[in-house]
Symmetry: C3
Subunit: 129 residues, 3 copies
């Protein structure tokens, strides 16, 4: 279970890095707060951060649910795959939004698996108890 | 407690569906990433997803807090009400933003109740211990 | 540990207040949903909410991780510092975006400390077990 928390923490470190990249892009492309539009390259960094936020809000509860009801090892492995996939997503999206699909799938499929597995495990536990 | 995790999982499935609806609306209204503006109908789907994200980040920790300190059954019931309310919010907002109030209240009041109940229960437990 | 949940709950109450402030600013500056741009003052309230959401998604899992692996008292203290820092951030940003740095640092440094401490504690626990 400790491994699951390490993976969860690293996913959050990666997310903070995406946030840092948005701040750096603000300076580089001259987008002053509170604006979030006006330069396509800046908007790519911003969308990477926001899309990761959308996925993270599912990953964070799904990871311990899957670990608890199914398997902590598999939860950690799927979480690690998510982090790798988000790395590809970041590189792909900021180079060319049309190339974001591979990293998107590699990071969202593990999240779907964790969530569906977690729900399935909770339903099974509900009927056993 | 298992029931609470099932409800939490279903709230996340609903959120992923809202995200899918945004992706579908991108295609339907011709809004290419990274843009998130330019078509009012697309922006409605996008705002449903973002507003749900804002509420979900409160619901996810409030659900187990309420279940732990107050009652798991009531936590599950309030969580289920939230999911129904968000369904109304999605339908209302995408048809007409002015009609989003009913679903908004039906989904945010359970979240407020879960949060305030959870804090109240934690404070009571703090003074008992 | 109860104190950690009280602090977590109060951070969420503060976030809901920021969301309420966005709704109030919609009325005051005449920004009708689903729009989120068009008035700089409105956009400041909106960015406070969104930036807090970005930080909250890290704080919520980092708080109990730090409390579990390191110290519940220190977790509660760092969480309380985050809430104070976000209060300064809200006041600073809505008055003048250039003045948001102090509150930003005062609220993000505790989150970084909680996250890094939580990961460090999880790694130490992993090698001990």
């Amino acid at each position: 279970m400790n491994l699951v928390y390490i993976v969860m923490g690293l996913a959050l470190v990666q997310f903070l890095f995406f946030g840092y990249a948005v701040g750096a892009a603000r300076g580089r492309y001259g987008i002053k707060a509170p604006a979030t539009t006006g330069n396509e390259q800046f908007e790519r960094y911003f969308r990477v951060q926001m899309n990761t936020l959308e996925l993270l809000v599912v990953l964070i509860p799904a990871l311990p649910m899957f670990a608890w009801f199914i398997s902590a090892r598999w939860a950690a492995a799927l979480g690690a795959l998510y982090i790798v996939g988000r790395g590809f997503y970041y590189v792909g999206y900021t180079r060319d939004p049309a190339k974001r699909s591979f990293g998107f799938l590699l990071s969202s499929l593990p999240v779907f698996a964790l969530l569906l597995g977690g729900i399935g495990g909770a339903i099974a536990a509900f009927f056993r108890s």
